[in-house]
């Protein structure tokens, strides 16, 4: 036990030094870190309960999504049956019970109709299932039922988009370091430090942005339309860009039919046209690209309107057919206005409705108070423990104290590297971890005392003390790890914050409280060959 190879000693010190180095940036205020150019180093995030801020939990309305899917399928079936060759006449379309059912007028076309309906379904899940099941009822009706796998896939898809949309909207508002992440299958967690007005945040997230592309009707009486009247089949849509600032809103007439919907737009960005002027690039998905190609082929020279939430964002003229699914809108853009249009297009609409099921706001004052209280309490607790340990175990207590202090640094360092968040329960977890680390040394030292009482030699007592206690410490830590892991897996928010610190602390405390103190003790015994130890 007294043999600590040199490389091992160097290793242990290096790890501890690294721990201190990585912990330091988290311990200083932002401004100091920036001055010392340490702001690039990983730092611990403060949880909302410490920094103040808003916490929102959103849940997707999956019933609404199922309804939307049904609606879309109905539209698709109507078009496909009519458009295909030969045309299949259908009637009595119903969407009750979450199923789409329709009547095929000519029985001879039934098989063709089933085939065409099947062609509209997509694979879903891994077991070769499709998102809709197509059945024939009474040999004249086709019933399409959404499958479980299909619904799951569409929820998953919608959530992916929704998280992006929420992120775009919050980033767009210039919020500092928001945390947006999916939770479970249907929830989004939004945490914004510093935000004091959850209602603004909610308005920002919850706005029902709906992006649509419609054709502008060119053959209308401009004066009628400007006043807000549109001919049948058209609608008058406000167009802020052509309205005089402060004057009455101008309208343009668009055909009611939606040529493309916002969810077929994959991306929009700032770009440059051939003359190196600012422009907005658009990228559509496959079906959107096909539709866009058809529209641009059929309507050269006409304008199409991009309508967000019932307002026209832009209504560019179609110069030439655009076939690849990538388009550029150019014209009288400045870099700013092009960026704004791109963001407005990109932050599109939420693919599904959301409900706010949990919201918390913590004032920065409470946060600051809590930090101060937590820090003061931790310092007092540490000092009390350190004094107590030293009075009880002397030199060995001093080693244990050194280990505990270094342990704090190492935990902070690991947390910084893992970019974990320190919350109030996390601070409590810290205190507990210190307690367990101290317990490890108490176990060792008490064991050494015991072995000495039994009349063993110094070296043997120390050796046995570490050996016997290590087994107990290992078992105790395993148990802590079990409860820590359960908390981490099942807990939410505060419980998790506590578990993270606890788990990190378990790992680091074995290193500092056992390995490190053993090295110190071994070194001391080797150098001084004491004939008596005070413990």
């Amino acid at each position: 036990m007294l043999d600590f190879p040199r490389w091992k000693v160097i290793w242990i010190w290096l790890v501890l030094l690294a721990g201190v180095a990585f912990a330091i940036p988290s311990l200083m205020p932002d401004s100091v870190a920036r001055q010392l150019h340490l702001d690039g180093m990983p730092r611990i995030n403060l949880g909302l309960d410490l920094s103040g801020g808003s916490h929102l939990l959103l849940e997707a309305d999956t019933a609404d999504l199922a309804k939307q899917n049904l609606q879309k399928m109905e539209d698709t079936i109507r078009t496909e049956m009519r458009r295909g060759d030969p045309k299949i006449a259908i009637g009595d379309i119903s969407t009750s019970d979450g199923k789409l059912s329709f009547f095929v007028r000519d029985i001879a076309q039934l098989d063709a109709a089933v085939e065409r309906a099947n062609a509209q379904t997509q694979p879903a899940g891994y077991s070769g299932q499709r998102d809709w099941k197509v059945d024939v009822v009474d040999s004249t009706r086709i019933v399409m039922t959404p499958t479980e796998a299909g619904l799951n896939a569409s929820v998953e898809n919608a959530m992916k988009t929704a998280i992006e949309v929420v992120r775009n909207r919050i980033d767009f508002a210039g919020t500092k370091e928001p945390n947006i992440q999916g939770e479970g299958k249907t929830r989004i967690l939004v945490e914004v430090p510093g935000a004091q007005h959850p209602e603004q945040l909610k308005a920002l997230i919850g706005k029902t942005a709906k992006l649509e592309f419609k054709m502008v009707d060119m053959n209308v009486d401009a004066s009628q339309v400007s006043a807000g009247h549109a001919p049948p089949g058209d609608e008058a849509v406000p167009y802020p860009d052509i309205s005089p600032p402060g004057g009455p809103m101008r309208y343009i007439a668009v055909n009611r039919r939606v040529v493309l919907s916002g969810d077929e737009l994959i991306d929009a960005g700032l770009s440059k046209d051939d003359n190196n002027q600012p422009a907005v690039s658009l990228k559509f998905n496959a079906s959107g690209g096909r539709k866009f190609a058809r529209v641009t082929q059929e309507n050269p020279g006409k304008q199409f309107a991009m309508i967000l939430d019932g307002q026209v964002l832009s209504a560019p003229r179609i110069d030439e057919p655009i076939l690849g699914g990538n388009a550029i809108i150019h014209g009288s853009f400045t870099t700013d206005s092009a960026t704004q249009l791109a963001i407005a297009l990109r932050s599109g609409k939420l693919p599904v409705n959301f409900k706010f099921i949990e919201e918390r706001t913590v004032g920065p004052q409470l946060g600051a108070d809590s930090i101060r209280a937590g820090v003061i309490a931790s310092v007092i607790a540490s000092v009390a423990v350190i004094v107590f340990m030293f009075v009880t175990y002397g030199r060995f207590g001093f080693y244990a104290n050194l280990a505990v202090v270094l342990n704090i640094f190492v935990i902070l360092a690991v947390m910084a590297i893992l970019k974990s968040t320190l919350t109030l329960p996390g601070i409590a977890g810290f205190v507990l971890t210190i307690g367990t680390a101290v317990d490890a040394n108490v176990l060792i030292n008490e064991r050494i005392r015991e072995e000495r009482r039994r009349g063993r030699g110094i070296v043997q007592s120390v050796e046995l003390g570490y050996k016997e206690a290590s087994r107990t410490i290992f078992e105790a830590n395993t148990v802590h790890a079990i409860s820590g892991l359960i908390m981490l897996l099942l807990g939410s928010g505060p419980v998790k914050g506590f578990a993270v610190v606890l788990l990190i602390g378990i790992c680091t405390s074995v290193f500092t409280a056992v390995t490190f103190t053993r090295m110190l003790t071994a070194g001391w015994i080797k150098r001084h060959r004491p004939t008596e130890i005070h413990i």
Partner: protein, 319 residues
């Protein structure tokens, strides 16, 4: 330098002898706690029952009944008021608004805040939380599940690691600790929220730690003294580990007490629970789990002599 020694060397306290009394006390405590939880119930925070919580800091401590009637005049439901930490800081809990459309809870919070702002100049609002009934139900389930799984996981661990008696005695002792802690919350009406679940889990962790240390020593002594009577052996093991038990409990209590006094109002319920847990956990390690081993019929010399892994022979005690 003379070092501090809290527990004299080689104590020989007959813990096992006292176990009839201890079981009586334990039963009494457990029943009292169960009755308290059943009758008084726990003061669940919005985390668990759903609702709206507003934390207000007043310039001077308000009259609680006056504040209650002021809020009742707003017709937002029956408020539940509780000072947190100091009499100036009041937690106001309200039921969820009946129409749970978007913004209804915001309007509720705004209504209360502006009404209080008008009546109590200088009032500030530290926190506002809204938890819907759906989430709160899940949180209860998740919290209970976490506690149960933690206890079961740990009991299974000690069963696999030692004999089944250790698993059972540990499980009973932990169950006792959790129940007494819950009884404490029912008695004091401290708010029981998510943070407290973390505290309960920590108590479990701590208490288990304590039991593992003693169980480990019992096992070690069972290997060492094959002929010794089980009662004497358990007494010996508890006595041998007594300095460590006292030392560690005191250290942790020292740390927790400073947290209780200086840690601010938010941590108060948490630390109070932990302090109680440490005391109860230490008690149950000595009196519940160890003594229960005898009642469960743990016998020395289980199985064949195992290969010696401990200290060399000759570990007799003098004294």
């Amino acid at each position: 330098m003379r070092l501090l020694k809290l527990i004299p060397d080689n104590t020989n306290i007959g813990f096992v002898r006292l176990r009839a009394w201890a079981f009586g006390l334990t039963a009494l405590l457990t029943i009292a706690a169960a009755v308290l939880v059943g009758v008084r119930g726990l003061n669940f925070g919005v985390d668990f029952v759903g609702g709206v919580m507003i934390e207000a800091r007043f310039q001077t401590a308000p009259h609680i009944d006056k504040l209650r009637s002021d809020i009742e005049d707003l017709h937002v439901g029956q408020p539940y008021l509780q000072p947190i930490g100091s009499p100036e800081v009041i937690s106001i809990r309200l039921p969820l608004p009946r129409h749970s459309d978007e913004g209804a809870s915001n309007r509720l919070v705004k209504t209360v805040q502006s009404a209080l702002g008008a009546k109590y100049p200088g009032v500030t609002f530290n926190r506002a939380e809204t938890v819907s009934g759906k989430v709160s139900g899940e949180l209860i389930q998740k919290g209970l599940l976490a506690v149960f799984l933690a206890v079961f996981g740990i009991a299974i661990f000690s069963w696999l690691r030692y004999e089944w008696q250790f698993g059972v005695s540990t499980f009973v002792a932990i169950f006792h600790d959790v129940l007494v802690t819950l009884g404490f919350f029912a008695l004091t009406r401290f708010e029981f929220d998510l943070n407290i679940v973390a505290a309960v889990l920590t108590i479990i962790g701590y208490s288990i730690n304590d039991k593992i240390v003693i169980d480990d020593r019992i096992r070690e002594n069972m290997r060492k003294y094959r002929q010794m009577d089980m009662r004497a052996l358990i007494d010996l093991s508890v006595n041998e580990t007594l300095p460590r038990t006292v030392m560690t409990s005191l250290t942790i209590l020292l740390a927790l007490t400073s947290l209780l006094i200086f840690g601010g109002p938010v941590l108060r319920g948490f630390t109070a629970a932990m302090i109680l847990g440490v005391v109860v956990g230490t008690y149950s390690s000595i009196y519940v789990s160890s003594s229960l081993l005898i009642s469960l019929g743990l016998a020395p010399q289980i199985g064949e002599p195992k290969k010696k892994s401990g200290p060399p022979a000759g570990a007799e005690r003098i004294g």
